[in-house]
Subunit: 151 residues, 2 copies
């Protein structure tokens, strides 16, 4: 809401404007990044994110619950997404050996290859749309301010 008691109490108009700028900047960047991945590699951004998280994990595998946490999806949302990626051969699901509870998502060679093809596009976007727009001092300032939000 843009007017009234609640705003006067909690958030000034200037603060609200910065908040909206933050939301809008983030949304636009994510849409551009997803647009590039879809048009050049037919790969949704959420899929790219899953592939990266698995590449970075030990043995290229993560428990579904841990993967959901890292890509910030609900367990049910991640299950649907992983099912589709398994169908396309980018991931495998294996049962957790040690305690028999739950499943791992595992990066396949095809998944690795797909990620390798797409990563240049994605990182170029991260550069062009965001980090390449700042010099080192500005990046340090931005980093410092963001850590205030997410210590």
């Amino acid at each position: 809401m843009t007017a009234g008691k609640d705003i006067d109490q909690w958030v000034t108009p200037e603060q609200l404007e910065v908040w909206r700028l933050l939301i809008r900047a983030q949304s636009r960047v994510l849409r551009r990044l997803e647009g590039d991945l879809l048009s050049k590699h037919d790969l949704p951004l959420a899929w790219y994110d899953v592939l990266v998280r698995l590449l970075e994990a030990d043995d290229r595998r993560l428990r579904m619950s841990e993967l959901a946490e890292r890509v910030m999806l609900s367990p049910s949302g991640l299950t649907r997404l992983v099912d589709r990626m398994v169908e396309e051969g980018l991931l495998e699901r294996t049962q957790a050996e040690r305690d028999g509870r739950g499943f791992y998502a595992v990066l396949t060679d095809a998944g690795y290859e797909r990620l390798r093809e797409a990563s240049g596009t994605h990182l170029r976007g991260v550069h062009d749309y965001v980090v390449g727009r700042f010099d080192d001092a500005e990046l340090a300032t931005l980093s410092q301010l963001l850590r205030r939000i997410d210590p």
Copy 2:
């Protein structure tokens, strides 16, 4: 990807860290805001966003295509969301009079009331999780940096 040629070419490790900080800060804030709205008002953040956009619009109504653009959802995603909000009485759908093409989403009195109840919670969260963590000079700096991303 965290290593290799592509990173060296487009994004330095320091740049990548700031990018990830930005993504993570945003995700955490949105999850906290949604958690507060769900626990206190049983209202998803996307619903709140739709209610606010309609409150701000002339006659508290927007064309579906315009609303989709403002809340940054796909047309099909917005249609599903609006359907559920209509079922709960928070919105109405009316046919566009002038040219007969498309539909408007319209805020109902019940929708306005639901927004009024929830707005204090939401704005308190925006204050506590984000804007209240900065002084005026820092907010101005943040604003200036964000405009570089989203001019």
